[in-house]
């Protein structure tokens, strides 16, 4: 586990309250995210995980409270933040290519009107290489599998060349192999001094993938190093007793049958 480095925290959330109409989604949240960690945000559906990510990015106007990015309001720190939205938030039938989508990560640095050029293309290809998708750069995005879509979004965040990466369910709908590949990229980001915050659903992989965790259920339940904060009582508190823990393993080959000639096939 990497020790949190730096004195200024990557993200500091003070008294954050967000409400949709009259329903509070986040209630009086205080959260300090140290620099250089890989943090999971977990909690049941409707716990406000996505809302927290969006509030940090300034995409949602909070009812109260403030967010500081490396000690300053996010408005002046946007270039430090990269964002991976939920895969389902866009129409993948949009007429564009993988490379084009990844280059969108440079639009913020380009500013208004200026078009992406060869430099942007080069950076996008480098990012695609990191997620193992260079051969699909020209592909139309509707022809991608779920795991490939997720990696395109990850590459788009990588070209932003940020310090803090905010990801909304980066493992949603991906197969085991892609999940490993994405985890490797996230850990590399962390190991090179960046901060990664990811909304995560599979509780059983939290200790394996992450070194820091925030448990959320409208209010903050717990936050800290996985070993300290990811306790059974905290999980129970966050999920109101209904813990969706799955038994480890048990993923055997059901096609295994009695006939001896079948065994020879494998």
């Amino acid at each position: 586990m990497t020790a949190p480095s730096g004195i200024v925290p990557a993200i500091e959330v003070n008294d954050l309250t967000v409400a949709y109409r009259d329903r509070p989604v986040l209630w009086d949240l205080d959260l300090t995210v140290p620099s250089g960690i890989l943090m999971a945000v977990v909690g049941p559906n409707g716990a406000g995980k996505t809302t927290l990510i969006k509030a940090i990015l300034g995409l949602i106007e909070p009812a109260a409270g403030q967010v500081l990015v490396q000690g300053k309001p996010y408005r002046r720190q946007r270039h430090l933040l990269a964002y991976v939205p939920q895969r389902g938030s866009v129409d993948w039938d949009f007429p564009t290519s993988v490379l084009d989508v990844v280059m969108m990560g440079r639009y913020g640095a380009l500013g208004w009107i200026k078009r992406p050029g060869s430099r942007e293309r080069e950076l996008a290809m480098q990012a695609l290489e990191k997620v193992g998708m260079t051969d699909l750069a020209r592909r139309q995005i509707s022809q991608l599998s779920g795991g490939q879509q997720q990696r395109v979004f990850l590459a788009r965040a990588l070209v932003q060349d940020a310090r803090i990466y905010l990801m909304d369910e980066p493992f949603q709908g991906v197969d085991a192999k892609t999940e490993r590949a994405i985890v490797t990229v996230l850990q590399e980001l962390r190991d090179t001094g960046n901060t990664v915050i990811a909304v995560h659903h599979a509780l059983q992989t939290v200790p394996e993938y992450f070194d820091w965790v925030t448990l959320l259920n409208v209010r903050l339940i717990a936050t800290g190093p996985v070993k300290e904060a990811f306790t059974e009582s905290n999980i129970r508190l966050a999920y109101s007793g209904r813990v969706p823990f799955l038994p480890a393993g048990g993923d055997g080959d059901d096609a295994a049958a009695d006939a001896p000639w079948l065994a020879a096939l494998r």
Binding site: F94, Y107, R115, A259, L262
Partner: protein
């Protein structure tokens, strides 16, 4: 044939026809371009609301100035169209009504007010208002050079803005939230694009009419989407389809007396849409149908293969034959089992053991396992 040659001659040398054709081409190009973004943003109905909402603006502009200056009428239409759009956004934000309801309300209320005003104006004894009602269904034959200049001038500005803010419009259309996270003011981009859409619509109203103008926004773009997977190509194609159907429809209505232009343009653009929906490679319905048939065949062979596998795995002897009747029963009395078995035999996956009983080959067992793995593996 002679008629066609005559028409072509007139298109270039007849003053009226040339004016009509140029005007229709310009408006078709602009509405096609902006329509591509509207369709991709799933805002097809917004075009309909804007064009209907523009009617009271046109009549009010005439009532206030007493003249039919094209620029002033277009300005009135644009202001009313904009107010209509803002009201849709306001209703969606303030109430719990879904967007399509808000669009429906604004569309019908504004159009109703427009019709009342139009009826009122037409009762005036002066002749100045004559021709205002062509804004309902459009009349390309009424276009004069000043009208075409207004269409071309405003249209050029609209196209230039699209070229200038191409990157921003693309980002807005594909992933607005991500754009917001980059610090690009997506609300401003939205306002800009919607304003250009309003301009694209109001410059077409005299020619196409408020009732059917939305077809010029939606149809060329929907047709263009069929042929390409690139935004740039789609926009250019959509503009070309818009220009083509605009000219065709406008000329057809101008050379025949008494037919309003809106309907003839819609007929022309419908033809483009039908051809595109049916024949476009990959997305076209014909290709879809061929693919569907191929898939069906694949599913059928896959099902028989896995059924045979299930039967075989209960027997110690792989070559044990299984009757066709059992396979038929397993698939809820499906037909064509024999035919599918023949196909499998030809592929070396199944073998006929006796008259009516079949077994899997080793290759067939492998193939069956692959099918099963594919079903369990999901989309990867």
């Amino acid at each position: 044939m002679q008629d066609a040659g005559r028409l072509l001659h007139d298109l270039f040398f007849d003053y009226t026809l040339r004016t009509v054709a140029l005007g229709a081409m310009a408006l078709g190009t602009v509405s096609g371009t902006l329509g591509a973004f509207a369709v991709l943003r799933k805002q097809s109905l917004l075009g309909d609301a804007i064009s209907h909402a523009a009617l009271p603006g046109i009549v009010l502009a005439f009532m206030l100035t007493g003249a039919k200056d094209p620029l002033i009428l277009v300005l009135g239409a644009a202001i009313a169209g904009w107010i209509g759009t803002l009201m849709v956004m306001w209703i969606v934000r303030q109430s719990r009504l879904p967007e399509d309801s808000a669009l429906g309300i604004v569309l019908s209320v504004f159009f109703g007010i427009g019709l009342v005003l139009l009826t009122y104006v037409q009762r005036e004894p002066t002749a100045a208002q004559a021709g205002l009602n062509t804004f309902l269904f459009g009349q390309a034959a009424t276009l004069v050079v000043e009208d075409v200049l207004v269409i071309a001038g405003l249209g050029s500005i609209a196209l230039a803005l699209v070229a200038l803010f191409w990157k921003e419009f693309k980002l807005l259309s594909f992933d607005r939230e991500f754009g917001g996270s980059l610090g690009i003011g997506m609300r401003r981009v939205d306002v800009l694009l919607t304003s250009i859409l309003v301009v694209a619509i109001v410059i077409g109203l005299q020619t196409v009419g408020v009732v059917l103008m939305s077809a010029m926004v939606v149809a060329p773009a929907a047709a263009a989407r069929q042929w390409t997977d690139s935004l740039g190509v789609m926009v250019v194609l959509s503009a070309a389809f818009g220009a083509l159907s605009g000219v065709t429809g406008a000329v057809a209505s101008s050379t025949t007396t008494g037919i309003p232009t809106g309907p003839t343009i819609v007929l022309a653009v419908t033809l483009v849409v039908v051809v595109s929906l049916a024949l476009a490679p990959r997305r076209g319905l014909v290709w879809e149908w061929i693919r569907h048939r191929r898939n069906q065949r694949q599913v059928r062979t896959g099902a028989i293969l896995t059924d045979l596998y299930a039967l075989a795995s209960q027997h110690a002897d792989r070559a044990h034959g299984h009757p066709v009747a059992v396979l038929e029963a397993m698939g809820a009395k499906r037909g064509g089992v024999r035919r599918t078995l023949d196909v499998l035999q030809a592929q070396g996956l199944a073998k006929q053991e006796a008259d009516d009983s079949w077994s899997l080959t080793v290759e067939g067992a492998r193939a069956a396992r692959a099918v099963i793995a594919r079903h369990e593996g999901g989309d990867e």
